[in-house]
Symmetry: C2
Subunit: 151 residues, 2 copies
């Protein structure tokens, strides 16, 4: 019942998923490479991006950054430690709640990030179509598959 002959449907889904992940990896690899070339660890780049991309006026705390990066609090503390040590950002205790640490980008961080953002924009102009196409494929096969397998 699960294996009619050679499960061509399931294979199609696996192929589209594999292709999607491959495209994702390629994008990630590009992103990590240019971050490293700019002198940033990829995670530092992501941290700066989430600081810069926060809603206007919203204070960026360790907990906020952790949630946006999908990290545990302590891992984020360590990432912030390294980034602060390298002058990419500042950490100041929130006056209204001294438990909190507010993270703000330094000029150095800002200028590194700006350049990376611009490069990402260029690259995504090329890459987005393939990513979107891969996603659409997965989506359509997902629908077929979910219907067929009854979950």
């Amino acid at each position: 019942m699960t294996h009619p002959h050679r499960e061509p449907n399931s294979n199609l889904l696996l192929k589209t998923l594999a292709e999607f992940r491959y495209e994702l990896r390629r994008f990630m690899h590009f992103s990590e490479s240019i971050a490293l070339d700019a002198g940033l660890q990829p995670q530092q780049h992501q941290l700066l991006l989430q600081i810069a991309g926060a809603r206007d006026g919203a204070p960026v705390t360790i907990a906020y950054a952790a949630e946006r990066l999908g990290l545990k609090h302590n891992s984020t503390v360590e990432l912030v430690d390294r980034s602060e040590r390298e002058g990419l950002l500042t950490r100041t205790a929130d006056p209204s709640d001294k438990r909190r640490a507010i993270l703000e980008m330094s000029n150095k961080g800002r200028s590194l990030l700006d350049r990376l953002a611009s490069d990402h924009a260029d690259e995504l102009k090329d890459r987005a179509p393939r990513l979107i196409e891969a996603l659409e494929h997965v989506r359509s096969h997902a629908a077929i598959d979910a219907g067929a397998e009854a979950r």
Copy 2:
């Protein structure tokens, strides 16, 4: 020239990039979580997916897997070591070129992967729209920004 007042355009790009990466992280986190729940390291899952998703008949070698996963050869060898040890796949020397190792999924690997693929399909039915939207946003801002900054 680079900082008119508070560079609202650049901020918009940074926000869309941040949002895109956040959506990506969420998807990755989902994927990694269910892989671990199924008893697979996330990278083992990716390896199995690339084996299963290869063009029909195309032999999957270490080098092929490395390219698809964005890893160095030696890292891939280690990943394959672990996966083979756990019975997820088999490695056999290619008879026609004994330098090559051909990777094939075991039944155990196949059934774990099938289940994960189905779960990914379900999840992506929900998540793809937001990912695509984030990508489209980046793309449109990318165009604006690339035009404005002259690169």
